[in-house]
Assembly symmetry: C3
């Protein structure tokens, strides 16, 4: 240990001692003073805190990005073998498109200041400050975190459109989703001046109301993804030869998953990545009680969601008596989707119930789509769309009024808030309903428009592949990619 | 940069300068003073440290949770195709059960204060403080870290019971393991007042002895998991048609793994997750030399474990002349299991030897079980049970006496300690033997009782599936889950 | 909250207040003073910063290690089924060998001080300081980070040598690579006194020139790995029956990948791990703008790389009209390899272009090797070798002159630097060319020597397996490992 360091350490010890002595002397006279100086951090402290928060945000971003591997596995596993390569390449392409469009305009539309409907700053990441807002997190770290979210929303859409979407059609609608639909509608809830985020403030939309809250994106990411999916699945129509449950209760509805090991491992990787998705959305490690609570709530909702869906399928319907893999996994994911919005404000007990209900929601949702003869090969509409709506509303019921930011750099919406079951009345539920309804309807209608438009394009750009692309030898994989998933 | 921030930064600089000057003036007169003030951290420093430690614990918890994906792959890969869906759904269910029971009572039994045998606080996570013990880590972050450990112990058990356990039987014994066996026996070694943890303290069990040390759980997680496995495999008996090595040296013992790629990738993911398991068990990032040392030791033991088992199989026995995948992977995992207990206190050289021996232990263990005609499809008893015992004892040999906590928030057991080969005599070895023996025997006996009890239940709740569940078309997967792993 | 903590918190508040008041009083007289005290961190601050930087480095190291799972999947997926077990076991073994040799001598040769050509300190990690250099990162954390890098270089080599390398031959050349070739040549660029790192300093190689810069290893890891691959593939010759594209344009060149799902998931896991590789190479979380920028640049280059290679294959050559999986994934990886060197110093716009060009480089590289009748089953030479060279040179073009270290503990080479397109002239490009050329040629020649030497050994130690090992039933997997990848 060199001389200089020794002195520094010694100085540190002395300062500590000095502080204790000074504090003890001043204690009696000063106890009444407001703690106004407590939030004044030194430059050294600020740089450490910014670094810690940026590391936390980046690690979370990496975990969220890792969900792409989970989605690829889940979707390819649930697909038929003949359409699984298509899913793989689509996920790779969607990610690439998302990166470029979120760099060019997506981030600008979503997180730039502009007006209540759209952001208008930071195109091509130009002229952006070093850190995002008041978070102290490096702006480019925030960008990659949000890119990973946008990529998630984009990837969700491909699940319901498996097996009959043309690759060029996928490119076209993907650009619309990641460059326009997701960032613009997302701006409403998460932008610095989005009208749902500002809802209730003086002079804004519905003054006096509660703001719309969506901590980590049950609505912004999952409902948007689920509604684009739904529009796509409706416009496309079912795969050729798809038999629905209502038409053949004996045979079961969904075509058999080509690889349940792939699908299961994918679901576990998604759960793993969700630990970035939810806790990372604090953008602050200093709120250390908050990130612990979010992680625990996320865990519990996933557990009860899978139990609920597994036992529902065991006891009701054509899978009766079997512990079904698909329902178990989709229940797990539904629990995760549902807790994504309320994770910050509910207690572990609330998370247990929210997940449980989500498991039943996804079970009912899958039956509903079978009844409506909508072909959603992986259950994306139910898992992300319906469970996302449930999770968003659940905040209005279970927000416990106990939890607010503990750190110096908390998010704007992190004040304690109480739902119906915790004495807060209907205010929060109303705000959540308005936000969820607005986003759900807007996304569905705009997506429907986009999907119809792409489906009217001439071959080979139109949305649905030619019939021989689906039914030919090797299926969609050979038609679009010239290769089969497995060889030998 | 605004005016206020400028002033703050300037103040920081001045304070630093002031400290250096003050220290230099006071140096001569104060050098003899005890450094009692050194551990007085300011409120700002404490909140940064708590945040950093919570982030570290959470990231580690996520990595440990990620091991579930690794276990799913390893176990399904080593299984026969006809029983692999069963493994997938079991892992999902075990995780869900573990989450709920560890929330309700498991954490209370294990980490609540109570008496030497069982904890009695924090049921349903109620009335718990914001942070765990003296660590400054958010209690819910500690909960999820420990949930992931419990889940690991629970998942280990399914490996040895592959292919003939009924799903309802699995549910029943899983509840016993995650709600009772693991947390209560775990309390002995890791609870705030467990009798093995307190062993040697005045007025406690064996006063004057060394305490039992298990840094990250060679005993608590792996031996418990391995012994439950052993009891289960014995009570179940082998799968129908299983041929043991001693009966047919030509054909080889273990049924062929249905997917070696799955198994291998699973083993790598387990290794990856182990970097949360061992280094994360500091619960403190401030002990930054400690976490670096643990990570390096973990790496080296895995490397030498796989080399030892690979070369043992190359040179001895019916696999002679072949570089066997199964032994290589199980040697790697045995090295990881063995270093889990001593990782904090041994040098890299010690880790190299401990891993090497673990590779031979797992090689011998697998032969022993073949000889005893116990059907353990993945080698769980040898990898987790036997290598866990070896690793626990190895601390008594290799603890180097050099390493203690460097941070302000070190764990209680983190004082330097010396083993037999480093001049410390037999004291540590004795304490390790007592702890390992107690846990091993207690777990085995209680598990045997549970397994026998479940096996006496009427159909369909009894432990072993009906014979047609094993031998029918589609095997256990179609019998219990109505689906085959692969389709088309 | 106990009394002592209350006092401590109060003292913290008072100190903060005191600092602000003091600063305001002293402001007028002191504004002209140099900020010399600004970089004097207290002992408490230093220990927090060291802890944060060590956590960052460890998390990055774990992510880089996780790339092994990605490589296993990518290589086994692109291989034929009959040679895929071989890849799995080779990756496990290469990792084990790398751990032991990097512990014994590799780290000493690479990061020990010695002379410009080789390091000479820390054999067996003995006599090493607690932290590495001036980084404050625990030395053993730095060791595991660098072990993971060495392991990456080692694993890259196996990709181009798939399907005809004997396992004993693999062991021999792997020891040469991880114990000698990689660490010694790596020392030139990254050692504390390596001649390429010091290039341009007074009295050193080429005084007055720019130093050679390789932020995270486009050259050190990827070009070295790629050039060893090339030497191996040339000395081995192609697999029996391999048809090259130039000889059969109809059938296509590369043998069909046995599992495209495996390969694709592997590529995503590699991308995931790259977030440790590049941002972690700061070894400092305090440079929080730097780590955000690196992560964003890494993302963008991967996106444009995959787009470029996908569309090149769509428009040109025998795969015309198809969205090819292999080219898409290799383009993604080429973008990642290329941005690895310049990631710290270029803008997001630069990253977009660098990735785009890398996609074309890998497309051309694969055709070149087909033309030269060199059998590289996974494209390792093009992805790691050629794109690594491009990335290294690209710094000389795109270094933007805007980015330097923001933290207190920046790396030596982290000063702003400008390339040809940003007004910096040819200086940086020249230095990059010299470094890349030196490493490329040296690695290729030494590796050629090693490969030829191993190929001259007697059976069974010689590099290439006997013909019946390739063509027999069950292929290389049964020949070397006594097992097939899939059973049933």
């Amino acid at each position: 240990m060199n001389w200089k360091l020794g002195v520094t350490i010694f100085a540190g010890k002395m300062l500590g001692l000095f502080a204790v002595i000074m504090a003890m002397m001043m204690l009696p006279g000063l106890l009444g003073m407001p703690a106004m100086a407590a939030d004044t951090y030194t430059a050294h402290e600020t740089s450490v805190i910014n670094s810690l928060n940026t590391v936390w945000t980046l690690v979370a971003a990496f975990l969220v990005f890792g969900m792409q591997a989970g989605f690829v596995m889940l979707e390819a596993g649930f697909a038929r073998k003949r359409e699984s390569v298509n899913i793989l390449v689509e996920c790779a392409l969607d990610t690439a498109i998302c990166g470029v469009s979120f760099w060019a305009i997506g981030y600008a539309f979503m997180f730039g200041a502009g007006n209540g409907f759209i952001g208008n700053q930071y195109y091509f990441l130009q002229n952006a400050p070093a850190t995002y807002g008041t978070t102290g997190v490096a702006l480019l770290a925030h960008w990659i975190f949000q890119f990973a979210f946008a990529d998630t929303a984009s990837t969700i859409t491909s699940g319901a459109m498996i097996g009959r979407t043309s690759f060029r059609g996928d490119i076209l609608y993907s650009i619309c989703v990641t460059a326009f639909i997701y960032p613009i509608i997302g701006h409403w809830a998460w932008g610095p001046d989005g009208f749902l985020a500002m809802m209730g403030s003086p002079g804004m939309f519905l003054p006096g109301s509660q703001p719309f809250r969506d901590f980590a994106g049950s609505t912004v990411v999952h409902t948007i993804g689920g509604m684009v999916s739904l529009a796509g699945a409706i416009v496309l129509g079912p795969r050729i030869g798809r038999v629905f449950l209502r038409d053949d209760k004996e045979k079961g509805g969904l075509p058999a998953a080509h690889s349940l090991p792939l699908a299961t491992i994918g679901a576990f990787l998604l759960w793993f990545g969700w630990y970035g998705f939810n806790p990372g959305s604090t953008l602050s490690a200093m709120d250390f009680e908050g990130i612990g609570r979010i992680a625990a709530n996320t865990t519990l909702a996933a557990c009860t969601g899978s139990l609920a869906a597994m036992f529902a399928a065991l006891l009701i319907g054509p899978f009766k008596g079997k512990f079904d893999t698909g329902f178990t996994l989709n229940g797990m994911l539904a629990g995760l989707v549902a807790i994504t919005c309320p994770c910050y404000w509910v207690s572990p007990f609330g998370a247990v119930i929210i997940g449980l209900v989500a498991g039943f929601v996804v079970f009912g949702g899958i039956y509903l789509l079978e009844h409506l003869r909508i072909d959603d090969p992986v259950g994306a509409v139910s898992v992300h769309g319906f469970a996302g709506i449930w999770g968003t509303l659940s905040l209005g019921l279970f927000a416990s009024g106990q939890y607010g930011a503990t750190g110096p750099l908390g998010a704007d919406n992190s004040a304690p808030v109480s739902g119906l079951f915790y004495g807060g009345g209907f205010d929060v539920l109303k705000a959540q309903f308005i936000g969820s309804f607005t986003v759900t309807v807007a996304t569905f209608l705009v997506s429907l428009l986009v999907m119809v438009a792409v489906s009217k394009l001439p071959y080979p750009y139109k949305l649905r592949v030619e019939p021989e692309g689906e039914t030919g030898p090797g299926g969609l994989d050979v038609w679009e990619h010239g290769a089969e998933a497995y060889h030998d």
